[in-house]
Each structure stands twice: as C-alpha cells, then as structure tokens.
Symmetry: C2
Subunit: 276 residues, 2 copies
C-alpha cells in the first residue's frame, strides 16, 4: 500500500464556492467514510483492506478529526486501519466527537449543534463522518450533518464502500432500474399488514422494487408478516449477513417461500425486497 | 495481498437448496463483480486496488468464466486486476461471453438464452457477472440473469464496490432513510416536465428523496428542466464524476441554483437527487 497522499486537485469545473479564496486557510472537506458490515460479528475479523479499497484506508489513516455515530466503534475501526496503514497521528491524539442524537420527536439534531461540529473544517481540517456499518447518511444518521456542511460551503466527498442495500438489490435479481428503500415497517400488526399491502400495490403499479430493513431479532416476524400479506406470485428476496461468511440471498415467489419455509437468523442484519 | 483463496464455507443456516447433493459436482456460484466508475475516462487510471477491496480483486483474479455487459471492457478490467494480482489463468484462456441484448420492446433477454449462459455453474464453475461501471444489475443490465440464477438454484453473491447512486445519495445530505431511484426521465419536453412535477409531489407527500440519471451529454438539459419545473424551495443535489479526480456534489435549493447557475460537464456521468 502506498503512503498517505493528499487527493489529486479537482479537474472538473466545480460549481462549489471557492475553497481557497481570501486570506483565510483553505477549508477542509467532509469525507463520508464507509465502515465494514461486520459490526457486532463474533469471531476474527478480516484485515480491513480486504473489505475496503486502499484509497479509503489512505484517507481514513490521514484524517485527524472525526464525527462518529459511536466513538468507541470508531476507535475499533481506526485500530483496524492502523494495522494495515499507520495512522498519521496516534489514536489518542485524534479528535473524535459523536453525532448528537436527535431531540425526541425530531429526526435530526439541532442545526446549531451540527454547525459547531463542522467548525474544524472552516479552520482547514478535513473531517471524517462514519457510522457503525456501511455508508454514513444512508439508512443511518448523518444526513443532517451533510446538509449543514453544504450550507456552510464545505465540500462533501462520499468514499466508496459496502452498502447492504445495494448489495441486496443487486443479488435479488429484482428490478434494479427502479427501486425504493422505505426503511422500517410499523411494528403493530394491523399497521404492518396495511403497509405491506400498500407497498405491494405500489410495486405492482409502477414496477418498482421495494426494499426494507428490520432489527435482526424481528427478522423472522417480518418474514412471517410478508408471507401472510403478500400475493402468492409476488417475488420476495431476503439477504442475510451480506459480506459475512455464509451470507446469502434467496429470491422466490411468496408461494415458493411458503412451500419451503426458512428460518432467518435473529442476530444478523437482513434486507428484504419485494417486486409484485 | 494474499494469494487467491476459496471463500470460507457458509456458517449461517442457509435456506438455499443443497449445492453439493447427489453424485454431481458442487454447483458454482454467480458473483456480481463491481467495476470501477472511471469507464471512458481519459488519462491514467489508478491501480485497481485503490478503488476496489482486496477480496473483490482476489475473487476476480480466480474466476475463469465471465458474463459481461461488454467483453472488451471486461478484458481491460481484468488487465488492471492482473497488474495487482496475477490471474489464475491467462486472459486469453478465460471464457468471456456477453449478456445478450434484450429483444426490441422487451427489457430482458429471452430466458432460454440466460439459462445457457449459466450452464458452466451447473458444471461446478463459478461465474462472474460484470458491467461497464459500478454494480451489475443496479441501474444496469443483469437483473434477469440474476433472476435466472436463483431459478436454477445457483447461489448469487454480490461483491462490494462503488455505486454512484449510493455515493450521490450519501453526499447529497437529502433523506437517506427513504429514497427511490427512478432511472431516466422522458426526453420529450412536456412529458419530462410532467414527470418532474410528479416526482416532486411524491417526494413532498412521503418525504422520499428521488434519484435519477441522464446520458452525460444531456446533463445540462436535465438540470435546466429541473430548475424550470421544481418549486423554489425544493432541494436539488447534483453529483458529477463521483470517485474521479475533481468529482463533486452540490446541494442547494432550486432558488439558490438559479441564483448561482452551474455548467455541468457533458462527458461525465451525473446523478440528480431531489427532496421537496
């Protein structure tokens, strides 16, 4: 692996505000750093360059300022980075702050709090945003922070890494030209059933694959509800433990799922996709 | 980088049909192999381990059977793999077949053709599916082949790599908890305008980010149409040349885009996202 490098300068005509204007320092950027998908997995983890590209590891190794969904798991991530590419500064010297949790009843943290988190970028420091698994700000906290960065004229760069949603969609064989991720379904049985029928009707009407996720211990309950409420000919795909040893994707009609039932693991993330 | 390895055996209870039953060979798997996003880019390309994880390169280097959107660009991809990890067989000895184009007026190739392409897997060979950029079967051909693999009891594994859609969504700061990819908009002006207003109304009603793509030479025309038809307060994000030097994401209200117009490159892929 090559030593840490500053990314190449832009060559496209950028519509972003000048980042080096005036007499101030150049502004730092906000990097969205992908995490692995093995969060909470038992057993030995693979070397991190096995699951993330070298350019991502190089960027992670040089960043000195982090905003994290969870500081403890971020330190574990950085130890894995350090094992394959030495960190530019010792782990203890890094600034790692946690993303504030949204106030009750709201989706995002207050804008003022987010602005304060981004202050180091205005002083010229690049900042990494990282969540516990996969890409930050996708099916994960962080979008409000990214929005605040745009509002402050801070360039945002998302780095390529694993996304369980896209891997599940690709492996499903369902429509990849039109798809929607709808998050979690309601937990209450009647509401859940109504939502499943609504998503199926939408999928049938516009030919759009509908993807959803569930807390792992409710995987089996969601599968049961889907098989109860979907039409026999609707195609249902379940991806379990993607990128983990033994991870798999099964796609079948609802009828075939019922004829050959499956037991889903209660401790591994799953993605459910349907196409009517 | 470690020598080529056979992936670890499954540890999850798999609901797939047994792949080693009877007296036949074990079946091969279908691997969805991500390509880089620098297709068609001028200038020197980075080493491929810079943009893809080592486990993907290891799998690509050992596969002897390929199904490709384009055989020529697949050979170029495999040369880049060979430069960092020697291929298990010489490039000329690999079997690379092209995905048949859909018959006119249909989205997918005939099922019989797809079944024939998968025959090597039934004889025990692992097969790689690859497109010209990004993940196969997502906003790209291949979903029908994946579906045929599921129907034939062939295990499907999607390997992690860059996806311009998810990178654009993450970098947009728009809602990543609910989003839809709707592909291309109609080209005809009145239809395009109607579709834009329909997507904005849907986004407003259910709070869902809507993502779309365009042929690069029409990037500027699509931006113009979006600014004409969207409401001033709707947020619009444009990502250009993601993972390329100088790639960027700009997110602003429609009003702010109009106040500070942008020239989009006509030769670089872009992803457009809106949230009303």
């Amino acid at each position: 692996m090559k030593p840490a490098e500053v990314p190449a300068p832009p060559v496209l005509p950028s519509p972003l505000p000048s980042r080096t204007g005036g007499r101030g320092n150049p502004r730092g950027s906000l990097y969205l750093v992908p995490n692995t998908l093995d969060f909470g997995t038992d057993g030995e983890l693979p070397p991190i360059d096995d699951v993330l590209p070298a350019s991502v590891i190089r960027t992670a190794a040089r960043l000195t300022h982090w905003i994290a969904e969870n500081a403890k798991t971020t330190r574990a991530f950085l130890k894995r980075v350090d094992a394959v590419m030495p960190l530019a500064q010792a782990l203890q010297a890094l600034v790692i702050v946690e993303l504030p949790r949204p106030r009750k009843g709201t989706r995002d943290a207050p804008a003022a709090d987010l602005g304060a988190l981004l202050a180091p970028a205005l002083q010229g420091h690049d900042i990494g945003l990282i969540s516990e698994a996969g890409l930050p700000a996708v099916a994960d906290p962080g979008a409000a922070l990214v929005q605040a960065a745009h509002a402050a004229g801070i360039a945002v760069t998302a780095l390529a890494g694993p996304s369980s949603l896209l891997l599940a969609l690709a492996a499903s064989g369902l429509n990849g030209q039109s798809f929607a991720f709808v998050g979690y379904l309601p937990v209450e049985a009647a509401e859940r059933g109504a939502r499943i029928r609504e998503l199926e009707a939408l999928s049938l009407r516009i030919g759009q694959t509908q993807l959803m996720i569930e807390t792992p211990y409710r995987n089996a309950a969601l599968l049961g509800a889907l098989l109860t409420h979907l039409q026999p000919g609707t195609r249902l795909s379940v991806s379990c433990g993607l990128t983990l040893p033994g991870g798999y994707t099964r796609t079948d009609t609802v009828q075939a799922w019922k004829a050959r039932p499956a037991t889903l693991p209660a401790d591994v993330p799953a993605v459910f996709s349907l196409l009517a």
